[in-house]
Structure formats: structure tokens, C-alpha cells
């Protein structure tokens, strides 16, 4: 029976929420549905983490747990196949937390609150569905479900050049998924040895190991680029700053916090796991591109004056680091990559939430027009500093754990090429410090720039709830990284195994 599997509820709950939202008549009902639903998702994901760890301790050592598969489209052998390993569990938890925080960050959304939450929940349905799928078709379907609501979310509730940004973002991401679709078709038609039954199931494809090397050379790059576009890989990152700058707060949070992780997750789950030979041979090309992302993103952030642009470029840099670490193809670096996904997800969501709150009060995001906010809104300002510290890798916060693991892992490669790139990427930490401290200094400290700002108030309770949740998670990972580190580390072993075969 389909509902006996706990994972399916990650899709069922958002769908029920969608149905209820349709019936809502006023703001209170909308908020109730959103809060109850997102709390249920957080509870479910926490329960899943605990249960997952218990199962692993009890000796369940399959690659994926909670696996189930139902035939969907028989002629193409497409299943609705679900299952999770430690990485997906961590990503589900991250998504649930950010949806929860995003709900509170958009407490006063205007206009059309009902439509806003409908699209937001549809987006999160796609995200959750993506992380629980192990069938390429379902995965791809949920991936696209997560992309398209962005168009209306940015176009309707965004600010600035929203129409341009929304169109650019949608077309670029859909362009990426066009390559991805071709990659998936290629993988499907080579998924089984001659005469075998073709399949879309990740685990079966990997076990068959039937994609011959020439095809891998063709399929790996297009699949990697397909996901890489969403992961803001260098030449394809331009949608990210515009999109994030125009998007409303909760959408920026979800997009930078979760959606960009779909790219990184897909890169190792599909591109690297299924085509290990080509991954070993071609990783260097993408390593160069992602290396450029890391450094270039950080430098670009230094010269921006718009708070959202600063953060968006910083996201390019940090997400570049995720892909960079994945391409190092060893356990330590890849574990670091997922830690970085979690860390960056929480931290960026926090940043965007705070920026949204500040913008809601001052009606400007230009740091040249603000100053001394620490005196006016101390709570928000302190939170901003904490987020900044997490971003530049202060020990005790999540950024440090993630970046440390990545660079230790990357440095394990002994050849010149990898070392040089590792050192170059390390430099980005220093640049990060530059732009973070620049913002903190100009925006929060110093004299009050604009007299009108003196009348502004500090955070409301829903805003506090949203930010405190995120800060607790950031600090939680920073102080107690062990359990999550182990969970992720163990889940990478099967991937590393196919890479070294």
C-alpha cells in the first residue's frame, strides 16, 4: 500500500496543504494551513532522521532505506520509486526547516496571499519529491515542478526588474533541464546490458553498470551541466543574482536555501554516481569552471551595493564551492560538499530573511543609503552579524565545519592541479570576510545615515521565530557536527566505491 511508506508523506502533506489553501477564505485560515503544514513537515523530517539513524544502527546497510517502487508507465518501465540515504534525509530536514522559516518570513505577504502560498507550497512539493525519488523520471518531473512556480512568484510578488529576472531565471533553468532531459533519455537507453530490461531506477542502473565509456563521455557533461545550471556553475550563473535580487523574501530563502541544492545533489546522485568513468576523466573541466565560480562570485560580491546582490553573488561563490567539492571525488570533500549545502542553505535563508525584514522597514536595499542600524533594530542587526560570521567561517557556526571539511578533502589530492585550485578556492574565504565585514561596517555600525530610520521598530514575533529557528540550526551544526557528518559520510561510501572501481 502506497501510504504505508513514511516518505510519501513528504509529498502528500504539501498536496493536502494545496487542497486546503484552495478552500481558504481569509488570511487567518491561510496562515493556519501554512503553519500547521510546515510544522508537520518539520516534525516528519525530524522523526525521519531519528528513525533513519536507528535503522542504520540496527544494521540496515542497504544503499537506500525505505525503498518502495510502484509501476507507473509500463511501456517505458517508469516507476514511482522512492528511497532515501543519509544525504537525502539531511536535505529533507533542511528543506522542511526552510519552508517553516519561509512561512513566517512571509507572514504579511501582500497582495494575493492565497496565491502566494499556493505557488510556494507547489514549489516545495517539487523539492521534497525530488529528494525522495530514486527513479530518474520522477526525479526529473519533481525537479521541473519546483522550477516553474518561480516564474510567477518572482513576477507577481518580486521587486525591481522582476519581469526581466523572472523570465531570465525560468528560461535559463529550463534550458538546463532540456540538457538534463536528453541526458536522462541517454542514460535510460543504455541502462541495461544488451537485451536486458531498460530501467530508470538509479540503483538498478548503477548495479547494471552498462553505460559504455563512449556514451559516458557524452552523457556525463550534459547531465552535469543540466544540474550545474541550477547549482550556479560559472558561465551559467547569471540567472542567480538577478533572480534572487528580484524575488520576494520567502522565495529567495527557498530558492537559495533549497532549490540551488537540487543542482548539487543531482550532480553527484545522477551524473557522478551513474557515470563514474567519465566523472573521473572529465572532472577537471568542471573543476576549472566551478573554481572560477568560487573566486569570481566572491569578488563580484565585494563591489555590489544592493544587499540582495551581495548575497546572491555570495551564493554563487558558496554553491560553486559545493560543486567544486563534489568534483574532488573523495569521501571527505564530498561530505564537506553536503555539509556546505546544509550550511549555506540555512545561512543564506537567514540572510535573505533578514534582508527582507530590513527592506520592509527602510524600503531600500542600497547599503550607501543606510547606516547604524544596530542602534535602531538591535535584534535584526545581531542576527545579521551572526549570519555573516557563519558565512565567513567562524568556528562554532556551520560554515566553518563545512569549509574545513571541503578543503581538507580537496588537499588530499597530491597533484599540482588540484592543489593549486584548492588554494585558489581557499582564498575565497578571505574575500568573503571582505564583503561581509564591509556590509556589517557600513550597514550596522557607525552613525545613523538617515534620520527617518530612527522611527523604525525592531523585529516582530514571527520574524524573531523565523530567524531564531535558522540561527539555532546554524549553531547546532557548528557545535555538534558529528552525527550529521557520520550520516552523510556513510552515505557517500557507495558512490566512492563505484568511482574507484
Amino acid at each position: 500500500m502506497i501510504f504505508s511508506n513514511i516518505l510519501i508523506y513528504f509529498v502528500v502533506i504539501p498536496l493536502v496543504m494545496l487542497g486546503l489553501l484552495f478552500l481558504c477564505r481569509n488570511m487567518n485560515q491561510i496562515r493556519t494551513v501554512a503553519v500547521v503544514g510546515s510544522t508537520a513537515l518539520v516534525a516528519l523530517s525530524v522523526y525521519l532522521v531519528i528513525d533513519f539513524l536507528h535503522l542504520r544502527e540496527a544494521g540496515a546497510d542497504a544503499v537506500m532505506l525505505y525503498t518502495d517502487s510502484w509501476m507507473w508507465f509500463e511501456p517505458l518501465n517508469i516507476h514511482l520509486a522512492i528511497g532515501v540515504d543519509g544525504i537525502s534525509v539531511a536535505m529533507l530536514l533542511l528543506s522542511a526547516i526552510i519552508v517553516f522559516a519561509g512561512t513566517f518570513a512571509s507572514w504579511k505577504i501582500d497582495p494575493l496571499p492565497k496565491d502566494f502560498f499556493l505557488w510556494l507550497i507547489l514549489l516545495s512539493t517539487g523539492v521534497f519529491g525530488f529528494f525522495i525519488s530514486i527513479d530518474l523520471f520522477t526525479m526529473f518531473m519533481f525537479y521541473e515542478v519546483a522550477l516553474i512556480p518561480m516564474y510567477l512568484l518572482i513576477g507577481l510578488w518580486g521587486t525591481g526588474r522582476k519581469e526581466y529576472s523572472a523570465m531570465k531565471l525560468t528560461l535559463m533553468l529550463m534550458g538546463g533541464s532540456a540538457f538534463l532531459l536528453l541526458g536522462i533519455l541517454g542514460i535510460y537507453y543504455h541502462s541495461a546490458p544488451e537485451g536486458g530490461k531498460l530501467t530508470m531506477n538509479l540503483l538498478e542502473i548503477s548495479a547494471n553498470n552498462a553505460i559504455d565509456h563512449n556514451w559516458q563521455y557524452f552523457l556525463f557533461p550534459i547531465t552535469f551541466v543540466g544540474f550545474g545550471v541550477l547549482g550556479a556553475m560559472f558561465p551559467f550563473h547569471t540567472w542567480s543574482p538577478d533572480g534572487h535580487a528580484s524575488a520576494p523574501t520567502a522565495v529567495s530563502m527557498l530558492h537559495a536555501g533549497v532549490l540551488m541544492k537540487l543542482g548539487g545533489y543531482g550532480c553527484f546522485r545522477v551524473a557522478i554516481y551513474l557515470m563514474p568513468h567519465a566523472a573521473n576523466e572529465l572532472a577537471w573541466i568542471f573543476l576549472i569552471l566551478t573554481g572560477i565560480s568560487v573566486v569570481y562570485g566572491a569578488f563580484s560580491a565585494c563591489v555590489q551595493n544592493d544587499l540582495k546582490y551581495i548575497n546572491a553573488y555570495s551564493s554563487v561563490s558558496h554553491c560553486g564551492l559545493v560543486l567544486f567539492a563534489i568534483l574532488m571525488l573523495n569521501t571527505t570533500a564530498m561530505t564537506g560538499a553536503v555539509m556546505q549545502m546544509l550550511s549555506h542553505g540555512l545561512m543564506t535563508a537567514l540572510f535573505f530573511a533578514l534582508i527582507g525584514m530590513i527592506y520592509g522597514r527602510t524600503h531600500t536595499r542600497d547599503i550607501r543609503l543606510m547606516g547604524g542600524l544596530m542602534k535602531i533594530m538591535p535584534f535584526l542587526a545581531v542576527c545579521y552579524v551572526i549570519a555573516g560570521m557563519a558565512s565567513l567561517g567562524l568556528p562554532g557556526l556551520s560554515g566553518f565545519v563545512a569549509e574545513m571539511t571541503i578543503f581538507v578533502g580537496s588537499f588530499q589530492h597530491e597533484d599540482m592541479f588540484h592543489r593549486v585550485f584548492t588554494i585558489a578556492a581557499c582564498c575565497s574565504i578571505v574575500i568573503t570576510a571582505v564583503y561581509i565585514l564591509r556590509v556589517v561596517g557600513k550597514l550596522l555600525l557607525g552613525p545613523v545615515y538617515d534620520e527617518h530610520h530612527l522611527t523604525l521598530t525592531d523585529a516582530k514575533w514571527w520574524e524573531r521565530l523565523s530567524t531564531v529557528t535558522l540561527i539555532l540550526c546554524v549553531a547546532g551544526i557548528g557545535c555538534f557536527p558529528n552525527w550529521i557528518n557520520d550520516m552523510i559520510h556513510n552515505s557517500f561510501l557507495p558512490i566512492i566505491e563505484v568511482l574507484t572501481k
Binding site: 511501456p75 523570465m167 533519455l185
Partner: protein, 492 residues
Amino acid sequence: MDYSQFLVMYQEIGLLVLILLVFLFDTFSSKEAPRGLSMFTVVLFGLLTLAGFVTPCCKEVASAFGGMYVTSPTMVAIKNVLNIGVFIVLIQAKGWAHSEFMRVRRGEFYELLLITLFGMYLMISARHFLLFIIGLETASLPLAALVAFDKNRYESHEAAVKYMLTAVFSSAIFMMGLSFVYALAGTLYFSDIAASVIDGGAMLIVAVAFVIAGMGFKLSLVPFHLWTADVYQGAPTSITSYLSVISKGAAAFAFFVIMVQVFGPFYNQIWEWMLYALIILTITVGNLFALRQKNLKRFLAFSSISQAGYIMLGVIAGSAQGLGSLIYYILVYIFSNLAAFGVIQSIESKTGRVDMDSYNNLYSTNPKLAFTMMLAMFSLAGIPPFAGFFSKFFIFSTAVASGSVALYILVLIALINTIISLYYYLLVVKAMFINNQEDCVIAPFKSSVSDRLGMWICVAGIILAGIVSCIYNGIVNTSVHNPEYIFTIFAN
């Protein structure tokens, strides 16, 4: 004479009886305005559609008239798909058919429309070129009359003349091709032609090219598409929607059967590259022209040109699964396109506007119409979880099945084109949802019951036809389990 073979043609005969009943009803009811004619036609046609699904006969391939006429579960499936489409068109046309101007001509409209459907049935089931030609002409000529139905509008006349000339011209070219085929093979039976032509040389190439060109006019493939936009714009909207889905769907199926069954053995040798070129041109040119259209009917004309290119991808595989995906694509395309036309028609009948600018901010005045239009656009663009995504995925996956690199490149071009098409479909969504204009052109209004019913059916189809997998599985199974009549000739 064995009369049981007429039973095989039960769908055609049922339709013919229906046409006669409508004719009698129209003739013997009051002269001024035949009351209840629309209801009568729609209900009877609905019953006929249902009958297609429940009739127990034709579980296997059956033929009549010495093999001129063949039917099989797959053909029943495509006829059912067309029936669903025509049923929706009839419902949507009710408002137009009841306008003052249509009062005395309502009967003609239904009769002519259903006769063309009868012609399409014959095109689908014909296995002899003479019967095929009869079907083709029966399907085209009454349509020209229908296109000219708005006799007070200049554009309608212009469109009818254009349609008439191209229809006749393309039939002529088609028959020219057939005469070459007959010269080579000495027969016009589909299966005999494939067996008796060994190597035709240049003459065969010309024959294939002429046949493709003739069918290309029907399908409005580029470069035979020039009539499409003007005719779509000029014709009454009900007829445009009928032309764009039903006529195209029947022609696509017939094209598949002719190309695979008659010319299948020469695929690699002669028409593989012709088909590739046609597909690339059709998709790309259709898309590029759609980008700049401001009139929504013209816009959908170009979008339907590029959709025809995607449908042609199903021909490449030449397999039972390719045919199944093609039929499924047509079904989904019917739902999506008719939803769009339903909205256009509803708004046109209230305000007379069909330009995209007048749709600005439609969401604030008529949210349900805007929502339907958005679903239609998303489905046409292939966005999940709507049906268009599934149909595109399946047609792409059957296209690359044989695995040559050229096919991957072809599909990549098609995929890049879906991005271009996404841009212009989103422009419509943008106009309705995002564009802000203080003075909305379209005031809030309530569409008529029949319009709403038609749109509800389409919306249900858009949402369910993809997710409910038994539809696709069922369609493919009809052809997979009865492969006798599709010659899987493609050697590669």
C-alpha cells in the same frame, strides 16, 4: 455478400446515421430556428463517443472490402481520441451556433463538421489509396465551407479561398505522387506497394517527396505551412480549434501509417533525412514566428505548427510505441489547445477581442479563465505535472530509441525549441497575471454554461491525462499487442 463486414465499420456507420438524423431533424423542424438541435447533436455525439469505448467488437485486426478498409484497437483508439476532441469542440461551439447570425445555418454547421470527421475516419482506416483519397477529400472540402461561415467578415472569405486553394493544390500534388507509386508498383494497396517496389530509383524519390508534400500541407509542416496563420485567424474560432486539433491529429496518424507501411522499406535510403529536415524546420520556424504574434489566434496557429513538428517525432521510431506516443500526444494536444481556444472563444464572444494586449491583468477580473489559459499554456509548453510534460517526454523518448547520435542531436534541437516556446507561452501568462494595467479591457463576466463545461473537461484532461498512467499504457498496449498491421520494417 457478407454483410458482417459492415459491423467492422461500426464507428463510421454510427457517425453516418448520426449525420442523417441531424439532417432530418434540421429539415423537419421549424424553419426559423431548429430548437434543441445543438443539444440533440451534442448528446447523440456523446453517446457515439461512449460507444467507441464500450463496444466489445474489434479486439483484433479486422478488414472489410477486400482489405481496403482495416480496423484495429489502435485505430479505434485514435478515433476515440478524435471523438473526444470533436465532442469538446461541439460543446464549445454551442454559444456561437446559437448566435443570431447562425440561426438558420446551425444545421449546416453540424452536418458539415461531422462529415469531415467521417472523412477523417476513412483516412485513418484506409489501406488502399483510392479509399484514402475519398477520405482526404471528404475531410478537406467541407472544411473550406466551414472556414467561410462568417459570411459578413472579409477575413473569413479570404481564409476560405486560401484554404480551398491549398487543399486542392496539395491533393493534386499528393495524387501526382500516387500516380508515380502506381507506375512503380502496379497496385494501390498499402501492403502490396511495400512488397512490390524493389528499387524505384529517382522516380520513387519523387513519389515519396510528393506524398510527403501533399500530407505536409494537411499537417502544416514547414515549408508547406504558409496558409495556416491566415486561415486560423480568418476562420470562426470554433472552426479554428477544430482545424488545429482534429484535422491535424487525423492527418498525423494517417501520415504515420502511410510512411511506415508503404514507404517503410526505403526509410534509410530515401526519406530519413527529409523527415529530419522537416521536423527541424517545422519546430524552429513555427516557434520563431510565434514569438512576435500579438493576435492570439495567429499565435496559436504558429504554436500549432511547431506542435506538429513534435508530433512528427513519433514517426521516427516507426514502432508500436512510437505510434502509441503519437496518439497520446494528439490526445494531450487536443485537451491543451482546446482549453486555450475555449478561453479565447469565450472572451471573443463577450468582447470581440483576440489580441494579447487586451488580456492584460485578466487574472484580476476573470480569475478562472486566466487560470484555465495558464494551465493550457503550461501544458503546451510541457511543464509538469500537466499532461503536456508527459506527452513530450514520451515522444522524445521514442524518438531516440534507436540510439543514433543524429537522433540525439535532433532531439536536442527540439528540446532547445521547447525553451523558445516556453518564452512565448509565458508571455501570455505574463500578460494575464503580471502585467498591470489600470484600465482592464475585459470586464468581469460569466461565461456560458456550455463554455464552462468545455473548459472543465479540458482542464480535467490536462491535469489527469498525464498523472493517470493507464491512459498512456492503454493506448500503447493497443498497438503493442496487435503489431500485425504495423510493419516494424526499420532495420536499425
